[in-house]
Assembly symmetry: C3
Homo-oligomer: 199 residues x 3
């Protein structure tokens, strides 16, 4: 089980680091600016989660995460010219996968430590949005989470689904799958149809 | 004593969460954007305080804080049309109450843990301003604390009063009252008369 | 050894606090806004470092750091008119010294705790850039680290040099000197010749 979480976490870190690199490219940063933005986006949310939960920060305990970020950023620099040709929807779709993965992992970590459902939902939200929020703040963009599309909503829904299934004792793998599908489905639908909640 | 602190803390969280909701409304965010901004403002400062003090984060230990934020945001959404009619001074006045409450609670927590007076003053300031600062950054506003009105000044003054009275052993309830009155009085006076320090 | 680190750390805190005060002056903040920006810049990076490393936050354990910031800001207010006459390159040069000092101290702290080299490099980078990044975000400037000049690059280079020399067991004082010279030399060269990496 913790093996699956580890791999999902690595995937989330890679995806979010890549989203940071894309924005750094668009903002014409130099390679190490790209590294900073990739790292902040990839590990920002999980770092905050571990600090708040009072457990050792994941990438200090397992530096492999940092090598993955370094590799992601390096490969992105080599494939730089392709990044500039990516369509406008590529970034939000990438971000949606990262959001779904980090939401589930954040909720999972809190529940395994015995915290209440509402704490787990918030921890999922924090893990999912903090990295991307810092990325957008640093690049002088309005954070995705605060624009009108369904974003925090999708993370909270995924967290509620996961906390509910975890509490009723559903085997973890289907619970993870359903929660991932909830967040990802809502975000992709919002991107595809331009959905938003009423304001 | 810790009962009084708990209730003051709940009041501060509610007030600051509400200030986050008001700004989210003004920035035309959707209901979950309002929830994110309400939560960040309500628990941001106390989270940073607990992390720095090395104690368990308050809302992880007592999830009732999160339900209070959820209720505050939900009621605000129902009363949405009234929020739009609030006068321009309502927000800074609300924020002043939150600032006073969080300043005293932050200083109190540090002093009870045996830290030096200057640490307690800074902890009060951090608890008081970090949530609102993040709220303003996320909503692309210049943080209140960095505009020219007396803001950090009021928090530092309240913290100094509380640390002083705590050190001379004054019974806690009057010490809390005097410190609250100091911060609140200075902020409200600054808002009412448009006071500012010379630059 | 830890005595040397302590003095270098105090020097870094003072220098970064002063850089915060300069920017606060330029943004026409009041004295307590200057105090907030000075404190955030001076202790922001080290606070994040200690939280992530899971050790007591340095200025909570040793409040002398806070008195140093208070003195730096107070003296700056007295010398206010001179700050306005500083040349445009004074701020980045000051910042370069702070960056070099904090990079080495951050890497040193991580290595002494037994962490991997890549963790130490990132910790040096985080300690070096987090305070200044928050300073620039609060003052509505594009963070230096994300502009095109060699900035993160200089910190990473210094961290790599220090981690390498530490690992091969070089006596600490020359290792500190060489790492400081690496970061500082790269930054000053970048400022002097307007160097940047290709984007």
């Amino acid at each position: 089980m913790s093996g699956l979480i580890y791999w999902l976490d690595l995937a989330g870190v890679t995806i979010f680091a890549f989203s940071g690199v894309i924005i750094a490219c668009q903002s014409r940063m130099d390679p190490f600016g790209m590294l900073v933005l990739g790292a902040v986006t990839g590990i920002g949310g999980g770092t905050l989660r571990d600090l708040v939960l009072g457990v050792p920060v994941f990438w200090v305990a397992a530096p492999s995460y940092l090598w993955v970020i370094l590799a992601t950023v390096s490969l992105s620099i080599l494939g730089f010219h392709y990044i500039h040709r990516l369509t406008r929807t590529f970034l939000p779709v990438t971000d949606a996968f990262g959001l779904a993965l980090f939401t589930v992992i954040g909720s999972h970590k809190a529940l395994v430590l015995g915290h209440a459902g509402i704490v787990a939902v918030l921890m999922g939200l924090m893990t999912g949005v903090a990295g991307g929020m810092t990325r957008d703040l640093l690049a002088h963009r309005v954070p995705m989470v605060l624009r009108q599309e369904i974003y925090a909503t999708a993370s909270i829904a995924g967290g509620v689904v996961y906390a509910g299934l975890f509490t009723v004792g559903l085997n973890h793998v289907p619970a993870i799958g359903l929660a991932l599908a909830t967040t990802l489905g809502m975000r992709l639908a919002a991107i595809y149809w331009g959905l938003s909640l009423p304001t």
